[in-house]
Symmetry: C2
Subunit: 227 residues, 2 copies
Amino acid sequence: MNRTLTFIGHEAAVLAKATVMAGLDHNEAEALRAHATVRLCDPHDVLFEEGDKAAYFYCVLSGYVRLYRHNSDGRQADIRICEPGDSFAECLIHADETYRYGAQAMDHAVLARFHIAEVRLLLEERPRIGKAIMRSLSLHLISTMECLASDRMQTAPQRVAHYLLTHCAENGAAASLRLPFPKNLLARKLGLAPEALSRAFSTLKTKGVTVRGRAIAISDVNLLRQV
Amino acid sequence: MNRTLTFIGHEAAVLAKATVMAGLDHNEAEALRAHATVRLCDPHDVLFEEGDKAAYFYCVLSGYVRLYRHNSDGRQADIRICEPGDSFAECLIHADETYRYGAQAMDHAVLARFHIAEVRLLLEERPRIGKAIMRSLSLHLISTMECLASDRMQTAPQRVAHYLLTHCAENGAAASLRLPFPKNLLARKLGLAPEALSRAFSTLKTKGVTVRGRAIAISDVNLLRQV
DNA sequence: TCTGGCGATTGACCGAAATCAAATCCACCG
DNA sequence: CGGTGGATTTGATTTCGGTCAATCGCCAGA
């Protein structure tokens, strides 16, 4: 078996199942894919910075990409951590001409890179592709709003508990999961300093959460829901 | 002159200029408008709650609407304050079947209420309307992301300064503005308690910001930009 | 003019999380 | 097996903003 081919096959499958492709038939998906090229990233590669002229939007096939903004002090805040299947910057198709945030690969990432101007033209003849993109935008908007609300009213342990509960595999009252990325990335995703994430985990120990590296065990899902 | 007619004329003009209508020609705008009815709200009227079955999306014509979520403690956080010309819940056209947040009128508000299922059908024959909605979604997504970033890295005085600078009318180095709504609504919009907004204003006094009721004067725009 | 009421302000206090610094842990390499 | 560098954890401290309570200011109605 050829490893490289398997790898490509895996990534093609991720792309096929990505939100931005959901609901499209084979022809439509193929038409959209025709405007994409593959971009391989090394860890910490910057894809674009806020203010750059927008040429492409992206879909993550493997690895992780963080979207962030920085303020005048050089300080920066993460807006979103994109996982395989997630797309980003598709909001520029009809809205803006420059990227409104920076994007950086967090490890060896593989991305599908769609040419915005070409896709814009494609949408004229293929409205159903527009529908798929609209759905993707809608889901991003909803999840960003939820993130904003949870930042504004949930404490760090509550946000962590929510993440665990929405990502774990249940097994009766117990549950478990394995973090798909290092803890510092989870901290960024939740808008926390790494130290705060660590402290949140230790707070949750009393609620039956056990952490060993990336492996996390939950002894009682209902107990955790009360946090 | 008939006041009621003028009033309606004003609201029709707001709707015509709303983001969700931008870029549409007369026929298209008319086709979309055909699926809207007017909704008059009293202060504190709840339009819908999180979890309600979604039937309509809205465009604010006058007054203000707050979008919010609440957590298990009954506590609630505002996600967005919608002003005249803003639309909300249009993300449900292709994404979801229930509202994902609550909406409440903040004073006597007038809204255009669009029937989601009808508009969904309309989009099949009028793809350019879909484009307008996509643009509106994109702008909301971008501004929500900016809001999230500023919550995560800007202090209260910095957020207030940013609001002032993006809403004032400049006049040389000086500038001024009049808040379109009471301070407690601005506080919600910025994710602050009213007391924190008040303290932020008093911090900004040293940067040349003078507040008298809703009237705000800025003595030196550049000084404020450094905050 | 007086008064009630509400939004806004101020002060005191507290709690959550950021920051800074130090200690551990761990995987990998020689 | 010891060493090295990065990630994580822990501890101490600080800052920011939330909460509660008291007061102020202003406008409407009597």
